[in-house]
Structures are given as C-alpha cells and as structure tokens.
Symmetry: C2
C-alpha cells in the first residue's frame, strides 16, 4: 500500500497561501476572489478547493497547526495535578510552537485586511470545536453530574474565550511582543483558580 502512487503534487498549500496573502494585502480579504488567488498561483480554480475546503481556510492553517497539538498536550498532563491547572498548562504548552518570530500571518495582519466579520466567524467555529475537546477532558476528571457537566462546559468555553483574548492582546502588542505563553497564563489563571475552587467545593462523587 505505497503512498507514492499516482501523479505527484505540482502545486502546494504554500504556493496558494503566498498568493492569497499578497492579494489580501493589496485588496483586502473580501476584495480578493478565489479565482484571483488561483490565477496568481498559476493553477486552476478547482485546485484551490482540493487544498482548502473554504476560502477562509487559507487564513487559518497556521492556527490549525497549533490547535492540532492540543489533544496530545491534554493526554500527557500529570494526572495528579488539579484539573484546571492541567488544562491551563496543556494549552500553554500547545502554544509554545508560536515563538515571537513565528506569529501567524493572520494575526499580525488583521488590521490591514478590512472586514474582520467573516474571518472572525470562521475562526470561531474552529475554536468551538476545541471547546468540545476541553469539555471532554474536564468531564473525564470531575464526573458527569449535572452540576459538574455545567461547570465543565462553562470552564472550557470560558477558557477558549480567554485564549482568544490573550491572543488578541499578544498580537496587538506588535512592538516587542514576547512569547504568547505569559499572555495565556495571565488570561487563564484567574479563570482556572475560580473554577478549581468551585470544583473542590462540589459535593464529592465517587472517583
């Protein structure tokens, strides 16, 4: 079952991404059509949709790389640490791949792109997906009681919110921004402390 059969790729995600980013800077996101992107990249329109399932995907592939790291980070946390602390450190370590030098293009150029609305929602749906992963992680540790379920859900969605806030703040600090990690920790720790207190004071169920 060799993977090397068939015609090899003549183009690549990166080609299309570069062409897209150029055009986004020239004409804005909404002002750029998929056809224009493929023309600049020298491929057919259909090829674009072989690589990306939507126009907005070309914007978030860097982000997707980071998000893909999260499940593994969660799976390898210390089982003895408090839940929320474990979650927090998993998120921070998943983000470690974003050094100050490797900022996703999407974030640093947000301001030059014009209408954010459409992009916002495309990013949101990605993150909503992560919320489900976090909820599952927390639930596995604190049980499925109705109160626990609500707390788990709220905590994970709130964590996603904090991550968004931290990332925005980090991206805004364009001059001399450091690592993303400290921003995330600052945004997440108040939330984590509060939720952890609530969990600890819950009526205990069987482990």
């Amino acid at each position: 079952m060799t993977n090397t059969r068939g015609r090899p790729h003549a183009s690549s995600c990166e080609m299309l991404q570069e062409a897209a980013f150029e055009l986004f800077l020239e004409n804005g996101y909404a002002g750029t059509t998929v056809t224009q992107i493929t023309q600049r990249a020298g491929v057919s329109r259909a090829t674009f949709f072989n690589y990306f399932s939507a126009k907005s995907d070309v914007f978030w592939i860097d982000l997707d790389d980071v998000l893909a790291r999260l499940p593994h980070g969660l799976a390898t946390t210390d089982a003895r640490a408090p839940v929320m602390q474990a979650m927090c450190s998993a998120i921070v370590s998943a983000s470690a791949s974003l050094g100050p030098s490797k900022v996703p293009w999407a974030l640093t150029h947000l301001s030059m792109i014009g209408d954010i609305g459409e992009l916002q929602s495309s990013a949101m749906s990605r993150l909503a997906c992560q919320a489900r992963i976090l909820t599952e992680f927390i639930t596995r540790r604190i049980g499925r009681g109705s109160e626990a379920a609500l707390i788990a859900r709220a905590a994970s969605f709130a964590a996603i919110g904090a991550v968004i806030a931290a990332t925005q703040a980090w991206a805004d600090a364009s001059t001399k921004r450091g690592e993303l990690g400290p921003y995330l920790t600052a945004a997440l720790s108040p939330l984590c402390h509060g939720v952890q207190d609530a969990i600890d004071s819950m009526p205990q169920r069987e482990l």
Copy 2:
C-alpha cells in the same frame, strides 16, 4: 417627523420567520433556500433581504432581542458592587426575559436542524460583539493598564463563553427546564470569583 409616511408594510418579519421555521423543520437549515422561504411566505425574494441582512438572521432575532438588553443592564448596575459581580448580575437580568415558556426557537430546535456549523458561526459573531461591550464596561472600572486591559478582555470573552455553555446546557435540559438565570449564575460565578480576586490583588492604580 411622522413615522407613518410612505407605503405601509404588507409583510412582516414574523411571516417570514414562521415560513422559515416550518421549512427548517421539514428540510433542515442548509436544505432550505431563501427562495423557498419567500415563496411560502408569498413575497418576493428581494423582500426577504429587506427584513433580514442574511439567511441566518431569521434564526437569531429572538436572541438579538435579549442581547440588545445588555448595554442598558450594564449601565444601571450598582457602581459600588465589585465589577465582576455587577457584570454577572447585568447578564443574568438581561436574560430574565427568557422564561421557560419563551425559549428562542433556535435553541429548542437545534437538534432537528442538521448541520450546526454555519449557524454556530453566525451566532458567534453576534456574541463577539457583546464581548466588546463587556470589555469596555470592565475597563471603565479597573483602568487601562496593560495588565488590567488583558484581564478585562479575558474576563469578558470568558464570560461570553460561560454564557454559551449555560445556554446550551439550559436548552439541552428540555424536559422541565426552569429559568435560564440559575444556569447562568452557576456558569459565571466561578469565573467571576476568580477574576475578581485577580483584580483585587492587582497593584492599585488611581481610581
């Protein structure tokens, strides 16, 4: 400046909404076209876009009613109460208009509609807008230092996340769901306590 000038409305939001909801139940959200909605409502396609700026709007007008209440609720909070508590109670009271009898159609029928993805993102963009309002509210009370700014942002985005979680849990509890308020309080209070602690332990700036 009488408002009664010009040709009176021959149709209404409600007509279109009812037609849309019928069709959503029959064919799902993605399986229903705007043209079908307007045909069932007996108006032209263009009329739909006179009333709604997007197909998804017809889904969220109940929600928009509630969201519109938030700024007023924030403006009338007790200035002496802790920030986070004030925010929390403003959110809860804004939601008070949603009794157990008046559940937004969107929430109770989510499961019967099929693909949530597109709807999710349209809801998200509404809520992202609310996050900005909350951030402004918090910032006005705790100042604009870089640390304060990050906390304000994180707290408001996290609060929105908690609201989403609470609302989902409430909608899920279809049999004998009570008021939304308690769900919101349960989801928000851990977060609020944690953030309030962080605010209180911040190096004090001039009021």
